[in-house]
Symmetry: C2
Subunit: 664 residues, 2 copies
């Protein structure tokens, strides 16, 4: 026990010394969870610091990400190559130890955490991915996908609704290899939690179908060991280990109190803590014996070597499965993917244009692509049919059968999105998930994290505007398009035709980052594409129809409003005007094109009217001369969709009249 | 029992006939919950249809708002003046019976519902308001604030995280007069719920500190009556009544199945349902005996008359309290409010400008205003001190003492915001609630509903930009400002000085609609206001500093970036340029000014540089000539705030250089 305590104290002192040096940071969590982390990392976690991307490693997520020094200390001590200098650079510019753990910045960090509750939900997504891939790829005697996902959570995580959503679904889906550890220290930023958090967490998680191991002393290595042992034996339930801990454990004057949560201890208290815990080493010095005990490289190498041997045998016996698993975990699309897309494009260009709901066009191309991209795992927040996320190729994943490719997330948009992040971060799967556009609001911060991490996730949002009609303003998005497009590193598609929908899905499946595909519930316009349009769509915006020569007026639309500008153009052409029609299905992508291309499409300086049944704010950036934006800047009403368009004055007549202002 | 069933069947047939006529809508919920609603409304609910705004009425919220025909049937039958024609106009333009219940459209609808889970959370806010006002105003023998809040929830509501957040806090705060009824019908849109929702809901709510009445037959009036009786006796816990129901009860071929959830039954099935339930009346006909039994006006009048008598006696004994309660429930600010604001403005204008964090400036004016506006109830999602939502005038509300004026919501941004909506809709209180700007994402749909309803709520968001620094990109908002400003009917302030902060709070406290106040964590610039600025701030934007005459260049900033444009202006003036500085603390308000005023401030056509440490998208609408927007269009980094400004190239030098492009 005393040896173990010394190992744990290495975390404590790396943490307090680093936070003291940075003069900002959160020491309390790392000090409080050090004993738990020590047991987990030294006795249970199967990972190989020399290869942080080994696909069968156990995943570790610290959902209470503000306590990032816990993660950084663990990575340093166990051999991930994070140096003492890296630790000293905590919270400094371009360091490998930023304020919160960030995916892609630090080897061994499995997902970005900090926004509370989401690390937990993301971990649940990883566990779902593991279970799905295990069922798909494992064969008798070849458990090639077989790992645990461990997640540490604090009080804050458990207060957030997103954690409830994920916990409920994880329980329902029996994600037994998800093991959560609750850092029950009764302290959050406002002080002692009982005034605002009186849940019986153990009982709550039992009610959600979890295996709960309650009342574990989070500072007793034996009790912690027993808990992890029991957790790993769970065959049909995820496990929640509730650990009683003392925040800031070891600080004689500050432990157990809020002040140790988010501020340095102070030089004197650091000294007292050294004395109190009998740590006789200088700042940043960890004795060799302790470093050696922590070093996870030798056993990590052995673990991966064993797995490599297993995989070699698997490869011999199941060469196609092995090749497929290798391809998918490497994140490579199938070799024939471009050919499949090309043949879809040919099919669409050859067919007579038909009047059809845009969500239906999206559904058709998605269904046709899915057959050749088996790593795609769909799902929806209880609106599988109305979003048409459900394709002919879809089969439900159920609590007892993960062979399907479609997750019924229930009415849990935020949980869905965070779990999709977990699946994407896990690897081997490309998740898409659907809900109504207006309820993207519920999940917005998970979509943001997806963009921040650059994960390949696809958010399918239908019911995209006032066209939703009778369900009224609660269900009619208007500000959501600009809000989503404003997220850095986001790629938002709002297709208006089957060809545009095809490119949207193609792009989303290829892009190393998240995409949003917004597909109207109502009919799109009927118009024929030229084959050259394909390239233009792939650049985000293009000339859909042109009078030739210098246009008198440019009309720009997206998605369901293409029909309106087609109508308006006919009227204006009847008046002898040279009209150019532009479709910009992806403003993010179009804005990233060079100025010459943008100019060639928009003919800057020409009078221009942008039309979209949404907040006009997004389009002013492209208005570099006379013109206006026709959009929706108030809440909708409950009535049939076409009536709402009239009430909102979003009509061809209005467009003609606005255009008229700028035409002599 | 048969009589009661006939009363309930009136709801069922109004619903199926209306939905059939509208050929769209959701019959299942109303049919399934009709028996429960009948018992509640006829035997328990204390309300007066002749005065839907009677302040001591019981509140009724249907959180599963898609089943709105239940609410509309109840309002029609009990005497709220909703006519058969109104019902027939369900989901038609400008009707009083829109697709989802909407606050302000239909008398008797207490809050807009439809976005699942939020009706429940909003109801919890109403119950909190009741408890707070009761403690403040009731005196021995005078329970002038004394009512229940009833809320109906479906599976969807309980899957949403926001419901968990509110349930957890309601349990913690012992909101014993909140009574929820769970419509446990095992059906959601994707089909039978056990595949995605396996919670033991009764056990879960017990774990959250609720009084749970489980296994109630939702079609047995006696069982339902017993449950409500027991619920109303709870002295220290909110109550969850779990009712087993059959969705679409009475439809012989469709009940208990998903298809009855969101589509008309069809003419034939409607006829079969009539036969099955023995309902011999034509469509839209409810026999007089049934109508009379439902009519709640006589007993409603008596109930209000009794209360009026009580209040008259209270007025005699406690005239000041009575006057105060009357003022506050009428939504009138204190008579001296303008004088208090004026004296604050005087204080600020007289003082030497000081360097101070903008959140601190906000905190000071708020604290000074609070003394004269006792109806303000603050709170924060576990960041009371760092947002400085906590003022010198703040006292905590605790589970056992509601005399305070500050709610510790815990780490529950969405639940907080929805509960604030409930408090505002309840009346008698003006809620403000604080969190970090980036986490407004978590609560976004509640903020939207606040705007849709036009509620007087105030969302205080600090840590407003890359200036947050070391906590890194997860904590550095950039797209949130444009996303919030894009919500229709929103008023977003981003003050840059104490005077601007004062006007922000003044405006927020006066406005009949929600406001967002965004206050930077870091220091604002040091500059002196002229007294005339007050008027300009109240118009959302104004000339802060001017060279006189026609400017060569206009620099526009908000909040923490005013310092940058002041610096840049000094450089440009040194180069002999005539520089105008404009501050637009509230772009929503400024955009609503007439064109002449906007022109007088922005001098349209003059080269202009807008500067804000956020997504630039919002500002292009005001750029009507040469110029640019200097903003942040990528994720931030973890480092001290000033360094991030440099890394993001958001500096005075950059502004000077951008301006130079447009100057000859």
């Amino acid at each position: 026990m005393s040896d173990r305590r010394a190992l744990a104290n290495a975390i404590r002192f790396l943490t307090v010394d680093v936070v003291q040096k940075a003069n900002s940071g959160h020491p309390g969590t790392a000090m409080g969870m050090a004993d738990i982390a020590e047991v987990l990392w030294n006795d249970f976690l199967r990972h190989n610091p020399a290869n942080p991307k080994w696909i069968n490693r156990d995943r570790f997520v610290q959902s209470n990400g503000h306590g990032s020094m816990l993660t950084y200390s663990l990575l340093h001590l166990s051999g991930y190559g994070l140096t003492v200098q890296d630790l000293k650079d905590h919270r400094k510019l371009h360091s490998r130890t930023p304020g919160h753990p960030e995916y892609g910045i630090t080897a061994g960090v499995e997902t970005t955490t900090g926004p509370l509750g989401q690390g937990f939900a993301t971990a649940a997504g990883m566990a779902l991915a593991e279970k799905k891939l295990a069922q798909e790829f494992n064969r008798d005697g070849f458990p090639v996908v077989d790992h645990f996902t461990y997640v540490f959570v604090g009080d804050g995580c458990l207060m957030e609704g997103v954690a409830q959503e994920a916990a409920s679904l994880a329980g329902t889906l029996k994600l037994n290899k998800l093991i959560a550890v609750y850092d029950d220290n009764r302290i959050s930023i406002d002080g002692e939690t009982p005034g605002w958090f009186a849940d019986d967490t153990a009982a709550r998680f039992r009610a959600l179908g979890w295996n709960v191991i309650a009342d574990v002393d989070g500072h007793d290595a034996e009790a912690i060991t027993a808990a992890f042992d029991a957790a790993r034996r769970s065959t049909d339930k995820p496990t929640m280990i509730c650990c009683k801990t003392i925040i800031g454990y070891g600080s004689p004057n500050k432990q157990g109190r809020e002040e140790v949560h988010g501020a340095p201890l102070g030089v004197e208290e650091v000294a007292r803590t050294r004395e109190h815990l009998g740590w006789k080493h200088e700042a940043f010095v960890v004795p060799d014996t302790v470093m050696r005990a922590w070093d996870a490289r030798p056993r990590g190498e052995r673990a991966e070597a064993e797995w490599n041997a297993l995989f070699t045998a698997y490869e011999a016996k199941h060469p196609e499965l092995a090749a497929e698993l290798t391809r998918r975990t490497a994140g490579r699309l199938p070799d024939d993917f471009d050919a499949v897309v090309a043949s879809e494009a040919e099919r669409i260009l050859a067919q007579e244009p038909v009047r059809q709901p845009i969500r239906k066009a999206s559904n058709r191309v998605l269904g046709n692509l899915l057959a050749s991209v088996p790593e795609v795992i769909g799902g929806s927040a209880d609106v599988s049919m109305s979003t048409l996320a459900w394709t002919g190729a879809a089969r439900s994943i159920t609590p007892d059968d993960f062979s399907g490719n479609f997750v019924h997330y229930g009415v849990r948009e935020f949980g869905m999105s965070a779990m999709m992040n977990g699946m994407a971060a896990h690897g081997g799967l490309i998740p898409y998930g659907a809900c109504y556009l207006v309820f993207s609001d519920y999940s917005r911060n998970a979509v943001r994290l997806s963009a921040l991490m650059g994960l390949k996730t696809i958010f399918l949002y239908t019911h995209d505007s006032i066209g939703v009609g009778e369900d009224g303003p609660t269900h009619q998005p208007c500000e959501q398009l600009v809000a989503l497009r404003a997220i850095p590193n986001m790629s938002l598609w709002r297709p208006g035709s089957e060809l545009e929908a095809l490119v949207a899905w193609e792009s989303a499946l290829k892009r190393e980052g998240p995409s949003v595909i917004v597909a109207a519930r109502q009919d799109g316009a009927v118009f024929a594409h030229r084959s050259g349009d394909l390239d233009g769509i792939r650049r985000g915006g293009y000339v859909l129809q042109d009078a030739g020569g210098k246009p008198d007026i440019v009309l720009v639309a997206t998605g369901s409003e293409i029909g309106l500008v087609l109508e308006a153009a006919a009227v204006l052409e009847g008046q002898g005007k040279a009209v150019r029609l532009v479709s910009i299905p992806n403003g993010n992508l179009f804005a990233a094109q060079d100025r010459d291309y943008q100019e060639s499409v928009l003919a800057f300086g020409t009078p221009t009217v942008f039309v979209e049944a949404a907040s006009p704010l997004y389009w002013y950036q492209f208005l570099k001369g006379p013109g206006t934006v026709v959009g929706v800047d108030r809440f909708g009403e409950s009535a049939p969709g076409p009536e709402i368009y009239r009430v909102m004055n979003l009509t061809a007549e209005r467009i003609v009249s606005e255009a008229g202002q700028f035409l002599c």
